[in-house]
């Protein structure tokens, strides 16, 4: 099992390294360099040249990649091209908002999804099951910017029950209730986005296990369907469910760009969008790497959990 874990971790590092090359290459492909973006219509050859000199854009790409990777490995993210502040400080200040939003959403979405999935499995093929299926499919089919704007239009603009944008003072200095009020609509929007995936995976995984012989045995013993599912089927369906939950948690951290923009939450997503606008490449790269590490990390955790939950993987022969 230890060898399995080490292999997983090494694989994670390789994946991170490959992604680092992709992130670097992708940011190189952004049209227009940072100097053109900053100087705009007023750019002259002279000011462009001095700007490129200052930002070391004149060196070849592979040299800059190796320098960047070296600094990254030592944890030095450098300074932002937009305002000369330390990127690590900026990310630190913004990360809390993103992580808090993700955590609160996960607290609501994960139990809700598993519960709905189990209900759908227990009542498979009934009208309740179909209702859950259709409902979650509808929510996964509409993009977040639509759900978000729709929620804002109904609950904030028309009914005036909720704030249309997250109030900055409430968000940073408010008590728990004020934070919840500021984040209610973003949490709802994100919940709708991640619910369907997890619900459907729970239902499918449980129903898959339901066709195995030992379940038949339990049914023949006279156990009720609910008991069969909770006690016998669910533990063996944990691996795929945890996997999909991990994927969705990673999405909650890295995929909040749209929701943060709609509700004006000063998190990593808005920082990334602004940095792209200003062609602040070091910040874009740093956040990109952070998202990548989050994904790899959650997947690693999911793998470990799956190994622990599965006796066959726990005790390999």
């Amino acid at each position: 099992m230890v060898r399995l874990l080490i292999r997983r971790i090494l694989l994670g590092i390789v994946v991170t390294w490959v992604v680092s090359m992709m992130i670097f290459a992708a940011t190189e492909l952004l049209p227009g360099d940072v100097c053109h973006a900053v100087l705009g219509q007023g750019a002259t050859e002279k000011s462009l040249e001095s700007c490129r000199e200052r930002l070391q854009l004149n060196q070849p790409m592979h040299t800059r990649y190796l320098q960047w990777l070296g600094r990254l490995a030592t944890g030095e993210l450098g300074t932002s091209l937009a305002n000369d502040l330390q990127i690590s400080d900026q990310i630190g200040a913004r990360a809390w908002n993103t992580v808090r939003l993700a955590a609160l959403t996960a607290l609501i979405a994960v139990p809700l999804a598993v519960l709905l999935g189990l209900i759908a499995a227990i009542r498979a093929d009934s009208s309740v099951d179909r209702g859950i299926s259709i409902g979650t499919l509808c929510f996964i089919s509409v993009p977040e910017f639509f759900t978000g704007v729709l929620l804002v239009y109904i609950l904030a603009v028309q009914l005036r029950w909720m704030p249309a944008v997250a109030n900055y003072r409430d968000l940073t200095r408010g008590d728990f209730l004020e934070v919840i009020e500021a984040l209610a609509l973003p949490i709802a929007t994100l919940t709708f986005a991640v619910l369907a995936h997890m619900t459907r995976m729970t239902r499918t995984a449980v129903l898959n296990v339901m066709s195995s012989p030992y379940i038949e045995q339990a049914v023949l013993k006279g156990a009720s369907r609910t008991r069969v599912i909770i006690r016998h089927a669910l533990p063996n369906a944990v691996a795929p469910i945890v996997n999909v939950i991990a994927l969705n948690l990673a999405y909650l951290v890295s995929g909040v760009v749209v929701v943060e923009a709609i509700f004006r939450i000063p998190g990593l997503g808005t920082l990334m969008v602004e940095s792209v606008i200003y062609r602040d490449i070091p910040t874009v790269q740093a956040i990109g790497m952070l998202f990548c590490v989050t994904y790899v990390g959650f997947n690693l955790i999911a793998d470990v959990m799956a190994i622990i939950a599965n006796p066959r993987l726990r005790h390999p022969r």
Partner: protein
């Protein structure tokens, strides 16, 4: 007939010097949009409204982000300007008639050749940390722009000042390299706001403005509170500045009552905002414009008749109505806006005339299919739609030109000033001189049409140094006529700045200063 810019007339209307009918007639003659006219009428009425002291006003700023700064030499966005104007003051302010009025400088005068200036500073003004405001602060603030490492947008403007010295604690003397009657207006630019001598960090800067910075989160949020020792009028207790660059989210929150003022209403949301209860549109006619840039130094637009043809087939009214939703003014093929005191209304308005266009086009002998009009929303938001409307107009005159949408990232570097015809755009400049110089001076680096005239260059310099207002206006008229007759600019339209306020906000009025307009309001605003 009544004279002056529409903003002069608004003031005259407010004090009853002219009638509402005279006002509307002049607005019509200047081509001011119906929307902007009604905002002006409302502001003339509201200037008489009673003002309440106190309250916290929430302002949503549409631009800004990670490059925001409290250092005036680094001001780039309207957010910087607006926050800056609440905590600092400039030497000189610009009123809506585009005339300089006193701020930290109480008065100023020049010699007869307008190359030596004396600015007398306001006495008894203190910074928020209690220190007195003196000429040393002025010299320090201005000289920071001229440092070798400075990347200030104000640097090239200030370089004409060759000598700057204090004459006692409250007088500053300046010499300019060449005569410039507009020098005081230079100091209305937001970058030239006055900070305290010795201030370098700008983490918690002291200013002389109506408010003191209390909380500041770069690119997100700022809160300022009333400066109890402010030298002028100030109504509000506090202002909150919230940056929200997403147009839809901004207007949603405005309509839901989260903000009292939200700047920059996207044109495609205007209808929605106009209908929202409790929200008013504030439309400011200004010098911001979008134009055809036809390069006079290369085929085929070096042909005078072709340029005439391409100017005659601009469907001017249709562009204002469709692309600008009525919030704009037609232009007359030069860059001076009808809101500028030097706008020449003696030149006949060129209108959409397919017959004349066809006539000039035939005379030019150019093949229409060889002309490609490049465009991008990078130039001015809406430029791609405008190019299509224009192409239809050209078709009516028998000119079958191609429209090519160019990638936005490289528009200014690879298209503008490279191809013979493209859609361009300029933000408003504070003076006719700056606008005409930057875009038309034959050796200027942004002479986008490569049009050049010795007479024009001479007139530019002469008018800049002319202190007699009537003579000066005559010179600007001649320059506008030259551009109108021969230049490479086809004016597609001047467009209004469109902002929004709640109906209980007083003093957030139209101002023609284009992108700088958001800088003017902090101490003027109150609740009704």
């Amino acid at each position: 007939m009544t004279k002056g810019t529409i903003y002069d007339l608004r003031d005259q209307l407010a004090v009853g010097q002219i009638s509402r009918r005279q006002f509307l007639k002049r607005a019509g003659a200047l081509g001011i949009s119906a929307a902007a006219t009604s905002t002006l009428l409302a502001s003339a009425a509201s200037s008489a409204a009673t003002r309440k002291t106190g309250g916290t006003l929430r302002v949503c700023i549409a631009s800004g982000g990670q490059t925001d700064s409290l250092d005036p030499t680094k001001f780039l966005s309207t957010g910087d300007y607006a926050r800056g104007h609440s905590i600092y003051n400039p030497l000189v302010a610009l009123n809506p008639s585009m005339q300089p009025i006193p701020a930290l400088a109480e008065s100023w005068e020049s010699n007869s050749t307008a190359d030596e200036w004396v600015f007398s500073l306001r006495k008894g003004v203190t910074f928020s940390n209690g220190k007195d405001f003196t000429s040393a602060d002025v010299l320090y603030s201005l000289q920071r722009h001229l440092r070798p490492e400075s990347e200030s947008p104000g640097k090239p403007l200030l370089e004409q000042v060759t000598e700057m010295k204090a004459d006692g604690a409250h007088v500053v003397r300046m010499k300019t390299a060449s005569p410039n009657a507009d020098l005081p207006i230079l100091f209305t630019q937001p970058q030239f706001m006055i900070s305290q001598e010795g201030e370098e960090e700008f983490v918690n800067p002291s200013g002389t403005g109506g408010f003191i910075m209390k909380e500041y989160e770069v690119g997100i949020y700022a809160r300022v509170e009333r400066n109890p020792n402010y030298w002028g009028d100030c109504y509000l207790d506090a202002l909150e500045w919230i940056t929200n660059v997403d147009g839809t989210a901004r207007m949603n929150a405005m309509m839901a009552g989260e903000y009292d003022i939200a700047t920059e209403v996207d044109r495609n949301l205007i209808d929605l905002v106009e209908r929202a209860p409790g929200v008013e549109i504030v439309a400011s006619a200004s010098g911001r414009h979008t134009n055809l840039s036809m390069m006079c130094d290369r085929e085929p637009t070096s042909n005078h008749d072709l340029r005439q043809a391409l100017k005659y087939c601009i469907p001017r009214e249709q562009i204002i109505q469709n692309a600008f939703k009525g919030y704009g003014m037609v232009g007359n093929d030069h860059q001076v806006s009808p809101t500028d005191p030097f706008y020449c209304d003696e030149i006949a308005q060129r209108t959409f005339d397919p017959d004349k266009a066809r006539h000039h086009f035939k005379k030019s002998g150019v093949d229409g299919a060889s002309i490609t009009l490049y465009t991008s929303d990078m130039a001015v938001s809406g430029s791609e739609a405008i190019a299509l409307i224009y192409a239809e107009g050209a078709k009516a005159a028998g000119i079958d030109l191609q429209v090519q949408v160019a990638p936005p990232g490289s528009y200014w570097s690879k298209v503008w000033m490279q191809v013979p015809v493209c859609v361009s755009g300029w933000d408003a400049r504070p003076t006719a001189d700056l606008m005409l110089t930057i875009a038309n001076k034959s050796d200027g680096s942004w002479n986008e049409t490569a049009w050049g005239s010795e007479r024009f260059d001479q007139l530019l310099v002469a008018a800049r140094g002319e202190t007699d207002a009537t003579k000066r206006k005559g010179m600007y008229c001649e320059m506008q006529q030259m551009l109108h007759d021969d230049g490479g600019v086809g004016m597609l339209g001047f467009y209004d700045m469109i902002d929004s306020r709640r109906d209980n906000v007083v003093g957030f009025d139209p101002h023609p200063a284009g992108y700088n307009r958001d800088a003017f309001f902090a101490t003027d605003i109150s609740f009704a």
